[in-house]
């Protein structure tokens, strides 16, 4: 016991000696230093409080399920809606249209699907119901620089057939489309399309497209058997003549069975020509586009083969940022009875309110074979909501 006490006492003494040898204690802090220390302590406390608050939030965020949270919305497809409202004055006994009509509201859902493909789906809501305007997957990463499209799609026959209504420079479709290529619906079928840019010398752009469809396109093609497929081929050439002027030409071919049955074919050949002038420095103010399409139809009928021809030629000139003038000439025989010839002419004026809405007026005179002449004033408001689409070319 005594030994322990002696050890403790000596330890205490040693500690006392050691303390006595330490440097003298620092003088008491001044008021200024104290204030600074306080401020730093306060800031440190604030930082700690913020960190605690963040830490408290984090575990909750981590608990949110895989599909939850607004971040998932980032993967939603681009949604757009194209509206097409139409009005009509005048009389057309052959192909009447309503006086006022919400012709179409087209809902578009577009997105990249995966690293290999993108999807484009368009639903058309019209007065007669809802239809799938187009729904296709484009495979963009195929070997050999091929681009493939699978699904329901407007066929690559000429220029007008592949365009949606709201992208057309008119309120209607040309007579040749009405008479020979299934009207507004056109060749629009389920199938497969493959296209590729062809390697040609020089600056010429040449692209070939081959398409196979189920064989159902309204009154034009009708498949009565499973293998009554229809085919479309398109060769597209393009050349920049100058920086501001370019020329595009195309040859199209389509073949399918018609409504008379398996043994009856309809074949179409088409040529399309476009000449564009758009000065780069003034592209939003002035431009000129001349476009014509020529279509030859050969249709097997019960006792003979009917050959019909039709064309349209269109010219549009952009006067300034807001106004565009246009004109179109129509000339077309009828597919089932080529002796019947319809002719027409149109004058158009388009007012550009913004990139997202335009108002268009079209005066249209049509002389239908054997029927009363039609003289109409057609008005159209097209608008787009949502995702910014591509400008038509």
């Amino acid at each position: 016991m005594n030994k322990v006490t002696a050890l403790l006492v000596s330890a205490l003494l040693a500690a006392g000696v050691a303390r006595a040898q330490d440097p003298p204690p620092t003088p008491p802090a001044t008021d200024q230093q104290k204030a600074q220390d306080d401020r730093i302590r306060k800031l440190e406390e604030e930082v700690q409080a913020l960190k605690d608050a963040q830490a408290a939030l984090r575990p909750e965020a981590a608990q949110v399920g895989g599909a939850g949270g607004s971040a998932a919305k980032a993967l939603n497809p681009d949604i757009s809606l194209n509206g097409d409202f139409r009005g009509s004055l005048g009389r057309n006994g052959t192909r009447p249209v309503p006086g006022l009509e919400m012709h179409e509201a087209e809902l578009g859902l577009q997105s990249v699907i995966d690293p290999y493909a993108r999807g484009d789906v368009f639903f058309s809501f019209g007065e007669s119901g809802v239809s799938v305007e187009e729904a296709f997957v484009t495979f963009t990463s195929l070997p050999g620089a091929f681009v493939a499209r699978v699904g329901k799609q407007r066929a690559a026959f000429g220029k007008v057939n592949s365009a949606h209504n709201h992208a057309l420079p008119w309120t209607d479709r040309p007579l040749v489309t009405e008479n020979l290529i299934n009207g507004e619906e056109g060749i629009n079928d389920m199938g497969l399309s493959v296209s590729r840019i062809l390697p040609v010398p020089g600056d010429l752009f040449l692209e070939a497209t081959a398409q196979v469809f189920r064989g159902d396109s309204g009154e034009l093609f009708k498949s009565s058997r499973k293998n009554d497929l229809s085919f479309v081929g398109h060769l597209r050439g393009y050349e920049d003549l100058t920086e501001n002027t370019n020329f595009e030409f195309g040859y199209s071919f389509a073949q399918g069975h018609n409504e008379l049955g398996h043994d009856f074919l309809t074949r179409l050949h088409g040529i399309d020509l476009s000449l564009r002038w758009k000065p780069l420095r003034r592209s939003i103010y002035n431009s000129l586009l001349w476009r014509s399409e020529f279509v030859w139809s050969r249709r097997d009928q019960l006792v003979s083969q009917e050959r019909a021809f039709g064309l349209y030629s269109s010219l549009e000139y952009r006067l300034d940022q807001r106004w565009t003038l246009g004109t179109r000439f129509d000339w077309s025989q009828r597919a089932t009875q080529a002796s019947q010839l319809d002719r027409g002419g149109s004058a158009l004026l388009t007012y550009w309110m913004s990139e997202f809405s335009q108002v268009r007026g079209q005066y249209r005179f049509t002389r239908y074979e054997g029927r009363q002449d039609a003289s109409e004033l057609r008005l159209q408001l097209v608008f787009v909501m949502g995702a910014h689409g591509a400008h038509p070319f």
């Binding site: 620089a145 590729r196 497929l229 040859y251 030859w296 083969q305 021809f309 913004s354």
Partner: protein
Amino acid sequence: MPTRSEPCDNEMPIRDFSNFEPPMRNLMKIRWNARRPGYATFSLLAALLVALFTAQPMLAAGKLNVVTSTQDLAALASEVGGDRVNVIAIARGYQDPHFVEAKPSFLLNLRKADLLVLVGLELEIGWLPPLITQCGNPKIQPAAPGYFDASRFAQILEIPTTQVSRAMGDVHPQGNPHYWLDPQNGLRVAVGLAQKLAEMSPMDAAYFQQRLQDFRKRLTEAERRWDEQMKPYRGRKVVTYHQSWPNFVKRFGLQVVDYVEPRPGIPPSPAHVVELIGLMKRQGVKLILVEPYFDLKTPQSVARETGGQVVVLMPSVGGNPESGDYIRLFDQNVSLLVKAFQQTR
């Protein structure tokens, strides 16, 4: 005008479709042909596909093919890539980058590209996405290694903090895409490009790095010069036609009080022009900066009313012959501004 009697089929430019037959005269023949409607076409298509598959485009050997959406990005890619890369720009510097036409001739370059450099932030949304889809080049599809969105490297201004709508005009929901008009952003993009090019061509990494350092040095010297020139005019107020200049005015200490367009992408209206004239008079604003692709009529009439001056400033490399590269673009703009400020003192 062709008439019904003309033998249209014989005029077709392509004659090797084996089922293009001369006019058929009897029903039997139609039937025979109809029984085999697809085989000939199928074999033709197959032959065509095989022919195309074997005919791959010739690529420029050894050099990386870089396609950029604008000439600004092409200038930066050339600064870094030097003679080890082929650089081609799609839009010209004097062209409105929002309204470029998706010409098929651009596809000829895109299909051969190893790297596509774009501005991003939806600047090219009206024309570049369809070109990318149609070109058939897997290397430059979105998120592929050859898809380079330069906006990821830049400091972006005017990122909306509230709900955006088209009532505000053609707004860019991810921020203002004209970010290359701050030289520091040009440098940031160049740094990103040097990394990307080095990844794609590791043998040339040191070369790209050396060119980047050289560009950095020249740009830093030039920035010192521009700062010196613009120093007397810091804080000056200006009007611009379109919302193209936030990065530029921030960098050089200018202040934009209003735009000639009432809202982005909307043509100037008479009511807005009256307001603009009043504002410029009240605040003593004398300069109206206009991009080369906008009409000068409205800005000039505003300038006449306010005793101001219209300056056609270059928003992009190649906007005029004097702004041929990235540093000369700023040289040109700074000297145009200095001259205009001196004249409207």
